[in-house]
Subunit: 512 residues, 2 copies
């Protein structure tokens, strides 16, 4: 049946990450949570099953992928319900089966996916493409039934490595660590290390325009992709004959970010690089976020540009690096030789080196933060993140206004929050801002967060930021996204969708 | 009437470039042309006028832009007929008025363009957006009448310079040299130097995905654009709240390369950089194109990456640098300090430095080559270029197969050609190939070239290249482009066009 497939699941449904890694809330943090008025919420509820597919539907699915690659049991369907936003986790805890798919299929090839899509279109069955399942913006919550989740985990191959061109063809279901392992065996790296690295997959990176922690050096995922293959209900789209082209609009950039609404990305051709033989990470301390921002901007605009460049504001520094409370902490990292000019730029801007220890501590702990969210939720804390990006000149106002909106909205609800912020992706013309919010859950925590999120999103728009730098649109940002690209932008995307997915079966309710 | 507008025309209709700069074919080249069987063609014919707009049409156009900004005289319309491909020039010489617009208007603002487009849609009048007019792929040849050319030269302002974010908002009609002058006055540069620099404009750079000679250092134009404003018959599209975003597909990359078929790009926000205070250009000589290709690839993949990096094959080197005949010449150039590691990479790959003289000679002469085309056509030579790009591993085969196709097709027509090639744009994963072809004109030179071009285009597709790296699609590459993106890709673009331009008035016959 499905046991063999599910055995490869690395993630626990409704809880982040590798189940063998569990985090506990440090005692000092627990004390701080008390200050925020946190108290334990009611215990989790179990989901109640409901009918799955009809016999005819099941017959169709099994005919395409084989009976051993279709799952209709509650465990499999529950494990494919929603993603990993805090509202998603809270709904999971309450046993809410809204959005639970009726069936999960595990196709083994691009051609099987083409057949699935054509057949689902014929039968008016909604399809949710699923690779890592790590969406934090409601990217996996199809708005109608019958819903088939197409789980891409069997598409797990490195299809081709072109060592002259330094390109790799990777199938969509390859998880981050598996991609690195496959490439490392040949001496290469992709260099894409988002915080979702342990769970997310190549197809999701592409579909949601992922950006990794080393984006300063390796670029965003959408900058790594030079080719891709898309399965749609109407057939295959194959793009990318050259790194760059003037042959019309760049249609790769139309598929990247399409979040499963145009088709299922089944493989991508990505730029790879030789694995670095050395690494250098360092911490730097600045008097204030503003001073550090100038330093970081200088590196982003005039170099030397580290592979990793991030800046935590005073609030985040106080929580994550209490030894440096009162400062703003900058982490720089080089995959490859240390660029000596860096220290001069940081020193001139008022920075003080904290040496390699702080940098290495960040590097080794960089995938740990999401693990803390579940135990924090267990304790009754509401913890969530949101992010944006804009041009450098707008960054200070954007940061202040989003922080103010979050503080005001949550305080108005009786749960004053702690709001922390960091810059983790830089460009010559601007940067991202990533906010982490912690407060006490009130009795309807999903609505509590939605209210705060809406206020923050309005502040982002008013300050000229984009609604997402690297999380994507999903269902959660759909309205803000529509405002961002305007009615003609939405109409253009809808027109593309109508061509590729005329029956509207693909990820309905997501993106547009 | 139109005199004042036309006074700012810098280019001579039907002849490339600044009329005060005239080139002559060197005697040695004339001798070589004899070898190719070149003889003088018949003299040019004058165009015969034909009726322009009706009174009602003229009344509408003048109501929007003012009578002094509408031109219907033969000179103005002839000057806006077609672009600068060799077939375009040959048709011009024969007095062929096919594709001559009925009127030329010079709007002064985005709002006037919105009004023009809405009104033209209402009246079913085709519109050709015109900024520099330098298309070499038939990008200005609307396939139906009545045709209004919207000339953007009055949109010539630097609207805003954000020195913190290092972005500049430039209107679409700003020519290359004017953009540099406006930015230089503030200490900045765009760094975009295509061979069409003297004639082409910001709007055209964006609409046709231009790439300049310094693309290794400054990037392509589509990589410089962080925001843009598009006027369509249905209203305005405004894009770009951040350098990069995960809020859906990158719609900027859907407008870039749309070649006037989706709307008129009226302004762009581009990344700018401080003007360099020093420059270093050098020539290097290699035993063969293949040896030099390895060296160039090494720099593109592992650095140091010069601002300018180009490689002429043996045939091009023999013509342009006869002193080094038998070698393949590489030009490297740095805007800013010389990167000392470069020489080691080139030397290790078998290169021999020729010093600054060859590099500086290339730099000072870099806009001169197109001026030679007109006197060569006068002598009866057929001279034209075409270009492509692909991944590094395919470059040698692509070069060989395109060369073979050109030689075979033109030899079969009784006019054996000289085919030269260079690499002028490099990426980590691949590069461009630019071919220059010279042979004798036969008595129907347009058809002669079309036959050869079609064979070359088929060879490009068969070898896995894109139909254009930086010239664009226009009318000339439409069929090859359709094959490149496939029927679903074409349908998706047509759907976007149908949303933005439901009456199909914008650049009909161009792109799709």
């Amino acid at each position: 049946m499905t046991e063999s497939d599910l055995a490869v699941v690395q993630l626990t449904p409704g809880r982040w990450g590798d189940p063998t890694h569990r985090a506990e809330v440090p005692p000092a943090a627990l004390a701080a949570l008390q200050q925020l008025g946190v108290h334990r919420p009611p215990p989790s509820a179990e989901p109640v099953d409901r009918p799955g597919p009809t016999e005819a539907q099941l017959a169709f699915l099994t005919a395409v992928v084989g009976v051993e690659h279709v799952a209709t049991d509650l465990a499999a369907r529950w494990a494919h319900t929603r993603g990993y936003s805090t509202p998603d986790l809270l709904r999971h805890r309450s046993g809410d089966t809204t959005g639970m798919p009726d069936a999960v299929v595990f196709p083994g090839s691009h051609d099987e996916i083409l057949q699935l899509l054509a057949g689902c279109a014929e039968r008016d069955l909604a399809v949710v493409p699923y690779s890592g399942g790590t969406s934090v913006v409601g990217g996996l919550a199809a708005s109608r039934r019958f819903v088939t989740v197409v789980d891409l985990r069997r598409l797990d191959q490195l299809v081709e490595l072109d060592e002259i061109s330094r390109t790799a063809t990777l199938q969509a279901g390859v998880r981050g660590p598996a991609a690195e392992a496959l490439l490392a065996a040949r001496g290469y790296t992709l260099g894409h290390f988002p915080q979702s690295y342990e769970g997310a997959s190549i197809g999701g990176y592409a579909a949601a325009r992922s950006s990794g922690q080393a984006s300063a050096g390796y670029g965003r995922f959408d900058q790594m992709v030079v080719g891709l293959t898309l399965a749609t209900p109407r057939g295959t789209v194959q793009l990318g004959r050259a790194p760059m082209s003037a042959a019309g609009p760049d249609l790769r950039q139309l598929v990247l970010g399409s979040e499963g609404a145009f088709g299922v990305i089944t493989s991508v051709v990505v730029r790879v690089r030789p694995r670095p033989t050395e690494r250098h990470f360092e911490g730097w301390r600045f008097e204030s976020f503003d001073a550090a921002l100038t330093a970081v901007r200088r590196l982003a605009q005039d170099g030397p540009l580290p592979t990793v460049l991030r800046l935590s504001d005073e609030a985040e520094t106080a929580v994550n690096h209490p030894a440096y409370a009162g400062s703003a902490l900058v982490i720089i990292g080089f995959d490859g030789p240390y660029q000596p000019g860096t220290a001069a730029v940081l020193t001139e801007a008022g920075g003080q080196s904290l040496g390699a220890e702080v940098g290495d501590a960040w590097r080794t702990g960089r995938y740990q933060a999401p693990y803390l969210r579940d135990p924090l939720l267990d304790e009754g804390a509401l913890v969530e993140t949101l992010e944006t990006a804009t041009f450098w000149s707008r960054i200070p106002a954007l940061k202040a206004e989003v922080t103010e909106a979050l503080v005001k909205s949550l305080s108005d609800q009786g749960t004053p929050p702690l709001v922390m912020c960091h810059v983790s992706h830089v460009y010559e013309t601007g940067a991202s801002l990533y906010f982490t919010v912690v407060c006490a859950q009130h009795d309807r925590p999903v609505e509590q967060w939605q209210t705060a999120k809406q206020q923050a999103s309005q502040a982002i728009a008013a300050a000229g930021g984009t609604i997402s730098h690297h999380h994507g649109v999903g269902a959660d940002h759909r309205a803000a996204y529509a405002a961002e690209i305007g009615p003609l932008g939405v109409a253009a995307l809808q027109a593309v969708k109508d061509v590729l997915d005329p029956d509207g079966i693909l990820n309905p309710g997501i993106l547009i």
